[in-house]
Every structure is written in structure tokens, then in C-alpha cells.
Symmetry: C2
Subunit: 336 residues, 2 copies
Amino acid sequence: MSAVTPEPPARSPLTVSDVSEDDLLALIFPLLPAGADTVLGPGDDAAIVRAPDGRVVVSTDVLVEDRHFRRDWSSGEDVGWRAAVQNLADIAAMGARPTSVVVTLVAPGDLPVEWVTGFARGLAAACGPAGVGVVGGDLSGGDRVVVTVAVHGDLGGRAPVLRSGARAGDVVAHAGVRGRSAAGLALLLAGHADAAPELVRAYLRPDPPLAAGPAAALAGATAMLDVSDGLLRDAGRIARASGVVLDLDAVATALPDDLAAVGAAAALLGASAAEWVLTGGEDHGLLATFPAGADLPAPFRRIGRARTVGPDARGGVLVDGEPPAVGTTGWDHFAR
Amino acid sequence: MSAVTPEPPARSPLTVSDVSEDDLLALIFPLLPAGADTVLGPGDDAAIVRAPDGRVVVSTDVLVEDRHFRRDWSSGEDVGWRAAVQNLADIAAMGARPTSVVVTLVAPGDLPVEWVTGFARGLAAACGPAGVGVVGGDLSGGDRVVVTVAVHGDLGGRAPVLRSGARAGDVVAHAGVRGRSAAGLALLLAGHADAAPELVRAYLRPDPPLAAGPAAALAGATAMLDVSDGLLRDAGRIARASGVVLDLDAVATALPDDLAAVGAAAALLGASAAEWVLTGGEDHGLLATFPAGADLPAPFRRIGRARTVGPDARGGVLVDGEPPAVGTTGWDHFAR
């Protein structure tokens, strides 16, 4: 373009209220992955997905603007990615393989169309490589963005890995990262996003090790869950459901990489790196227990041991043999 | 109580912000039906539902306060019922049997807890008798009530009944009611709810003939859908998907009971009963086509015939051989 060509006048971005629902759907549909197990995709009253196991694993989550994300921090693509992966992680945590999702989006009229297509690209980025189809959905207007994903998975003939199967003597293991999402959120809140973009990204785009879920099941995992509310809190859920104590190794021993990764940010903000690692949520790692001597599938690493509950103790979590020395954030010792 | 016992002071109803999420869940869970096909219900990362067919039929819908319902008209129980049945109808419209739903609820802090437990009772009333389990969900705060349901169904080894299978010569048939929900809504809007409570109830609590979906499949239905946007508009969807014209009989012949049921309300409001029957949405009846000579399963009744598209015509809908003589409400002739 010549230097003397006048710039076109700046235009407001096209918003949802400028286009019909059909036009919006026509923009979205081509962006969505079909999925390896999809028999019938969007367009009829319902979609059809293969469930070769004869059982289907199902879960759902809702994300509400200004509760679960801020639009000035998270792009549409970030929200689509996060809504998808936190659901996919729930399927992986059962030892299953996700096959498909259905999605609803409530969109204010002033939401840019580009946000919505970005949202679709984020869903696709999370689902496509995993072979997961985005097979249906629903759109509505509303005051704020609300996103739901419902996810379906297949157990491949395996027994599900529940929260209740941990036994005294089991090894406690973790796959994925810890504390990085919490560190990224703290940086955003403090206006220091530029100090550690990789931590901010860990908050905006958590990347759970989905394939580790079925791998853990094959390796004999006795209990497993998706760590969405923090390591201590979610470990407590396995402990109580299983009637054992999970005695985690000291953080510096168990999770040295995570501790190192958030160390500088913790120093910058005057926060505790260990507390982020122990209590930070939304990393969506997998916490599992395995029989002693089991070969842990990658990327699981041992972080502790399950023990019997003492005569005066209730089910719970210890760190290095002691009650966790952390503040209350994310740590609700015996809450259900 | 003795007449002299002082009345306790009037108290505001307990609201969602007064209780913890765990307490709210503890109130809801006992109200929800387990479902005949549920292998694992709520409480772990995901639920597990039988999918004996080896395929699972999935769909989802979102309902937003002040867009899809008003809380001064619809109780929590009404909203729970409606959210469930409109999803169950989507499964029935594929010729499948619904097995389970997962549900999300966004609740403002000032929402009465009684509304939420009513919502759960409404879900249960819709799902329980059909053997459908409410197997999982998610709660969040938010400014307005937003409800999503994702539904799963089983085809029982049958081929799905799509929108695209109608053939010239097929009989067009309908099961359920028509126009009554639109009439009920019009009465509410006009402040005449007391004039016909049964029509208001048809709006608040649509009652689709779920068992007719699989029955239609067994009887050889060639196309089917859930009529959510009005008979003409949804008939147009079958017509275009199938490449035929659906020529409906005159309303007085095809749907005399519906015409009679809304007649007085139409007279009261100066509205057209026939137009309500032809264009009113949200009754969630089933519209299907069957090969000529097929025995129509109850409660389907014949309402027209599928014809070839003429040389200059596009796929569409006729009433008594002519383009429908109705206003534009709900009737978008060739919209996708």
C-alpha cells in the first residue's frame, strides 16, 4: 500500500447484535473439530457420538464472566480453551478418554463477533488435537458472558478410577504443574503480568496432561482426581473418600520444579511459593494413588504416601508428616 | 398453636448467599433422581451412564432469566421442568430414549434457596418418571439465573431419525399439542393469566410426548424433529433438509383440538388461534414423516403430506396447498 493511501476510517468491531444467530453459527461451525468418535455432528436435534465401552463418562462446568474470568485478561480464545480443558481433565481423572463436548454460550449484544470466533478457535485448539469433537451447542443473549461445556468420555473397557480407592501404603503421585496458575493470577491482580508471562499463560491456558489419565488407569491407579481447587484441598477429598491419610513429601522434595518456577514471582509479590504450590487451584493436574511398587506412567511423579488414619485422627492430609503449615487460602481441612 | 402465642417475626427467605455451596448441594442432591441407567452418580470428577447401544445421543440448551423465562411468572420448579423437558424432547426427536442429564445453575446471591430446591424438584419431576438420572452439575454465582441442561440418550440399536429423510408421498404427522404455549405466554403478557390457567400451564410446563419418539422410529418414521420454534418454521427445516415440500392440511382439519383449546383466549386477546397453532413455539411436540400406509403410533395424527418440490419452487411448507397466510411471527419461510 502506498504511503499516501488514506487510512480507512476506524470502525467499531462487529458485535453479536449486528449479526443473526444463523450468521454467527455459520462463522463458528467451520472452526470446530468434528472429533474422531462423532457419528453425527451439529445440525439436527441432537448429535451422536460413539460410546464403544457401552458406558459414557459425563461431566459439566460453567464459567461466568467476572467470576471465573475477566475479559480484559482472557481473550475469547483463552476462555474457549479453559472451558474445554477443565472439562477434558475431569474425564481424564476418571481414567477415561474424552470423545466430545457440547457447549453453550450466553453472549451480550455488545460482545465482538471476533470474541466469539476466538472462543470457537480456543475450543478447537483444546479439543482438536485430542480427537474430541465439538458436536453441539446453544447460543443465547444475556448481560454477561456465561459458558458451559458438557463433556463425554469413554473408559475403553477399564474400571473408572474413583476418589475412594486409595489404600494405606499406596504411593501418591501427581502429573502436571502446580501453583503456576495461582502465581499467574496473582501477577495479573498485582499488575505485574509482564514479570512472568509464562505464569500468566499457565493461568489463562492451563494445559492438563490428559493422556496421563488413561495411562494411570492402565498402570493400576487406585484413586485419582483433577486438582482444580488446590493440592491440599483435593488431596483431602481423596483422603476422606478413601479413609486414609495422604502424607505428602516436603514441597521442595515433591515438587521442586513448580517451587522454582514460581519462586521469583513469589519474591516479587511477597507471597509464599510453597503456599501457591500447595493451595493454588486451576492448574488441572492429576493427583493419583498407585499401589506401592507400581511403575508410574509419565509424567506422574511420586509426591507422597498414603497412610492409615491414626486412632484419634480423621482422614486428611499431612505434609512431611505434619499438618500443613499454610494459611487458609484454598485449604479447607475437613470441608466436604 | 394457641391464639395468644405471638407470631414469630417475619423473616426474609434464606437466600443462596446465606448458605455454602456444599450446604446447597446437600439440599439438592437428595431431590434428584438416580436414573435407571446410571452407573455412577454425582460426587466424583464425572458420572458414568450406561450407553448400551454403543453410541450416545447428546444435546444441550441454555435458559437465561428474562430471555427465556421470568421469575415472576415461572417458579424454580417450572424452570427446572422446562429446562429438562426441552432437552429430553431433543433426544426423543432422534428416536432415542433419554438416559441422563447434567445441569448447571448460575444463581444470584439473592436467589431464595427455596427457588433452587424447587428447581431441583422440577428437574426431578421431569426426569424421574422417564427413568432419566440427574447425574452431575455445577453451580456458580452470577447476576441472573442461567440454566443449562446437557442430555444423553440411547438409540437402542435403531438408526437415528434425522430431519433429512422425508420423501415425497410420506405422511406428515404430529404428536403433542400446538399453539397452547404461545397462547399461555400471550395471556401472561396481557395480564390475563386467570382467563385460561391450562394454557398458562402449557407455557410454564410443556409436556412433550417423549415415548412417541422411539415409537415413531420403530414405526418407520423417515424424518422427525422437536417443534420448538413453531410448526411452520420447523416443518420448513424438515422440508429443506429432505428436499421436499410439506403440504399441511388446513388447521381446522389437521389440529382441531388445538384450535379449539386456544379459541377463547384468541378471541379475548384479538389474536388468531390458527396463527398460534401454526407458528407458536415451545410446545415441544414431535413432527415426523412416515411412509404412506404406515400405522402411526399414538399419539401421532396425520396433519399433511410430503410432496415433490415443483420445478420453480424451493423446499418449503404449504398449508392446504397454498403458502401459509400468516404474519411473520415465528415464520421465517426459507431461513436456515
